[in-house]
Symmetry: C2
């Protein structure tokens, strides 16, 4: 999978899991210790997140890290 | 999970999967398009890998990315 495709698909997956749980970007950012704008850039497929960020997002959304992988 | 713990545990998991498949650091590096020294640093828990690197390593080891998550 091309890096750019991966970033877009991860953003889509993150957005879907977040919205399915009716959690806003602001609340996710706050719970994950990240900024809202960073969450927005991830959602738009602009960020190749690190493993640490993947785990922070998973903890904040109360899912396993694997469940966020596209 | 603390970022440092995550890096160490990811390195241990990557090393275990690689050695279980009798694949050397050199062969994994070559297949994943990374350097042997970078693989060594990941093994030693010194790198917070990106999602793209996680997928490259998983493809090279012929496992799912989720199987490399600690």
């Amino acid at each position: 999978m091309l890096e750019q495709d991966l970033e877009v698909r991860f953003g889509e997956k993150l957005r879907r899991v977040r919205t399915d749980k009716l959690i806003s970007q602001e609340v996710l950012a706050d719970k994950a210790g990240l900024t809202r704008s960073y969450i927005g850039r991830i959602d738009r497929g602009q960020i190749n997140v690190s493993l640490a960020t993947l785990y922070k997002l998973a903890d904040a959304l109360e899912v396993t890290p694997g469940e966020l992988l596209p």
